[in-house]
């Protein structure tokens, strides 16, 4: 079982290996996709094996995976698979038309593989110190993806990203120190003492004052990576400047990895401090994020930034759901993690296709997408409805669960506020997207008219563009209609881990 854990974390490195060996973009992307598929398969095997109840443990707790880790591993490896498939055509086309040099392509796949591997590894570590190390390393590696295009704008975004996230994660390290300190009455001589299952088991012996500080610092610190307001400022820049498949990874995988770290701290804090304090912290950051995300979405502009604001909003929803708590709230939060990840990956991948065809990232310059490129336009429309929580897609179900959890807690104020904010977000997002999808081609034919012909070299490449979109939307649709029994068990069991 230990071997399985290692294979899952190392599998995406196939993409890095192929790129380092000098393969072209298409082949590296396919190698990456194969690795991601192996990781996904391994994760599902792991989840089946974990259903016996015993978690995967090894090396003094440095390696630890229970169903909660398994669930996040599944989300991240699934997103990696979609983004790798998206890279086949996106990076392939950019390599063909000379927008990316062969060195940049090599850089992209090397760091992409390492980025995915580091995130998967961080989800498999029970040691909170190592969790910090791996998450910080994933920041550094992904900064290279953000700055890949080397223009002043992308370098600026990468700088903002790396400096703000590093500071944030360092604050989380201070939180980890205080958590460790709060356990000073326990025997803390061994490596085991900084593993979260050990701390959770001995939660009664933790000092409440320093635990409180530890939870707050960890939420602020890892919240920076999650993109919770007001620490979200790096997020729109990084998401809009990164190549689209990398944006999908940032939004759908990286943010969730940060959320996973917060959830681990939440479990310990909840066990010792009870619900009130963690709930107050999470509800404040969550609602701040939803408000800011929703308001920023109303402005029309760069469509990749629009998706990024929507990520801020959704991370806020997840934080609020964790704050609502209870079996229902936690179930909804986790389901939202999965459904948002799928929907957002699809949206960022369509944005890649759109920006290749229209040579712009401004929503105002794009129109008539449905007529010009029916598949991409359709995926954009469906993906947008999915992310906004329309039935019959999965996000509807998870948001419904979260609102129900809010009402179940008693006061109707918070769930009603949540519903109102979701309405604002719907309005802002849909306004921009309908403008892009409907109508004819942009009339005055500015510089940003759709480039004549296909940006892809051949039909096969163009066809591959469709694969991740259809795959993601299908899973989203299925999740909206029916939660498979296995997934239901995993979600319910993970919710009991949190408390």
């Amino acid at each position: 079982m230990t071997a399985l854990g290692i294979i899952i974390a190392l599998a995406p490195l196939t993409g890095s290996a192929a790129a380092l060996a000098g393969a072209r973009a298409r082949f590296s992307a396919l190698a990456l996709a194969a690795g991601a598929a192996a990781a996904l398969g391994g994760t599902i095997t792991l989840l089946v094996m974990l259903s016996g109840g015993r978690p995967l443990e090894g090396w003094d707790g440095f390696l630890y995976a229970d169903s909660l880790s398994g669930f996040f591993l599944m989300t991240v490896s699934g997103v990696t698979l979609l983004a790798a498939l998206g890279s086949v055509s996106y990076i392939g086309a950019q390599e063909d038309n000379g927008e990316l040099s062969s060195f940049q392509v090599k850089l992209y796949f090397t760091f992409f593989g390492a980025f995915a591997a580091l995130m998967l590894a961080s989800l498999e570590s029970g040691n909170l110190g190592l969790l910090f190390v791996l998450i910080e390393a994933s920041t550094l590696v992904s900064a290279a993806l953000v700055g890949l295009e080397g223009r002043a704008r992308s370098l600026e975004a990468a700088w903002k990203y790396v400096i703000i996230s590093s500071l944030g994660v360092t604050i989380a390290l201070a939180g980890t120190l205080f958590l460790f300190y709060s356990a000073s009455t326990l025997h803390t001589g061994s490596n085991l003492a900084l593993t979260w299952p050990y701390l959770l088991k001995h939660a009664a012996a933790l000092t409440p004052q320093s635990l409180r500080l530890a939870f707050l610092l960890a939420t602020v610190g890892y919240g920076t990576k999650v993109g919770l307001a007001p620490m979200h400022t790096w997020l729109p820049d990084a998401h809009s400047e990164a190549p689209s498949p990398a944006s999908a990874m940032l939004s759908a995988a990286l943010l969730n990895t940060g959320m996973y770290a917060i959830i681990r701290f939440l479990a310990i804090a909840h066990a010792r401090l009870g619900g009130t304090y963690p709930r107050a912290v999470l509800l404040s950051f969550g609602f701040a994020s939803i408000v800011i995300g929703a308001l920023l979405m109303v402005r029309k502009g760069n469509f990749k930034r629009l998706f990024a604001y929507s990520s801020v909003e959704h991370m806020g929803i997840i934080a609020v759901a964790l704050g609502f708590g209870g079996a229902l709230g936690l179930y909804g939060a986790l389901l939202q993690v999965l459904t948002h990840a799928l929907a957002k990956a699809v949206l960022f991948l369509t944005s890649g296709d759109v920006s290749l065809r229209y040579k712009t990232r401004e929503a105002g310059d794009v129109s008539g997408l449905l007529a010009a490129v029916p598949v991409t336009g359709g995926a954009l429309l469906l993906g947008s409805f999915a992310v906004l929580g329309s039935p019959p897609f999965g996000v509807f179900l998870s948001e419904l669960t979260i609102v129900r959890a809010g009402f179940a807690r008693g006061s109707p104020v918070f769930p009603l506020l949540l519903l109102a904010l979701l309405g604002v977000a719907f309005f802002g997002f849909a306004r921009t997207i309908t403008g892009m999808v409907t109508g004819g081609p942009p009339r005055p034919a500015p510089a940003a008219a759709p480039v004549p012909g296909s940006p892809y070299r051949d039909r096969a490449t163009a066809a591959v563009t469709v694969v991740p979109l259809v795959l993601g939307l299908t899973v989203l649709l299925v999740l909206g209609l029916w939660i498979p029994a296995g997934l239901d068990t995993v979600l319910a069991h993970s919710a009991t881990v949190i408390g």
Binding site: G129, L140, A152, L155, I163, T170, Y181, S184, T188, H232
Partner: protein, 224 residues
């Protein structure tokens, strides 16, 4: 877990080292010249290495001795030298003009943050009479001062130094608060810092080549 008492020799030395580290963070905040930033950061790392050595001697810990050595070699020597050679010399950086607040305002704000650090950490968290009770407020203050440097200075190099000061503050807290932090983790944190500095240097040089001056204040194309 064992605690150092504040009145033991090691406790007194740690306390002194903590105070020196705080003063050097203030010195950085009060300076306008790029090479001063690097000098103060280097000196701070040397004192930090001394503090780690003191802690190592008190706890008879080989791992802490190694960390003291690593601090001296990497933070005290390699990073300052790299910063001078790769950034200061090549980019011809001298005076830092990109500040959001004057020096005196910065210092007043720094003083307020230091007081705040004492207010938050001292009374509730720590048992009295231990070295940790004396040093942790200092390290919290260093973290806040580093963050303040990052906020008030708009030049990318100054922000990088600010982050490194924050890192030093966390490390000072680590060696006094939890001397037994797992070694592999500590070593890996070092690795992260080195990688972080390297990648940041790449971005700073890239940005400087693109813009005449890599001041984050002039990075205005993207707005949150």
């Amino acid at each position: 877990m064992q605690y150092l008492s504040a009145s033991s020799t090691a406790g007194v030395l740690l306390d002194l080292a903590g105070a020196a580290i705080l003063l050097l963070a203030f010195a950085c905040l009060a300076s306008k010249l790029f090479n001063r930033y690097v000098v103060y950061y280097g000196a701070q790392s040397w004192v930090l290495s001394f503090a780690a050595g003191t802690s190592a001697a008190a706890f008879h810990s080989t791992e802490l001795w190694i960390l003291a050595g690593l601090t001296l070699a990497i933070k005290g020597t390699a990073i300052p030298v790299a910063a001078r050679r790769v950034l200061m010399a090549r980019l011809a950086l001298r005076r830092d003009a990109a500040m959001s607040a004057g020096l005196s305002t910065s210092l007043v704000a720094g003083g307020a943050l230091t007081a705040f650090a004492y207010l938050v950490t001292r009374p509730v968290l720590l048992p009295h009479g231990t070295a940790a009770a004396a040093v942790v407020p200092l390290s919290t203050a260093v973290i806040l001062l580093g963050a303040l440097t990052m906020v008030l200075r708009r030049h990318t190099v100054a922000q990088l130094i600010g982050w490194l000061i924050v890192e030093n503050g966390v490390f000072l807290g680590a060696i006094t608060l939890v001397a037994t932090f797992p070694f592999i983790v500590e070593a890996a944190i070092f690795l992260d810092i080195v990688a972080g500095v390297l990648i940041m240097i790449v971005f700073v040089s890239g940005l400087t080549r693109q813009l005449a001056q890599a001041s984050a204040g002039e990075l205005k194309e993207l707005r949150g």
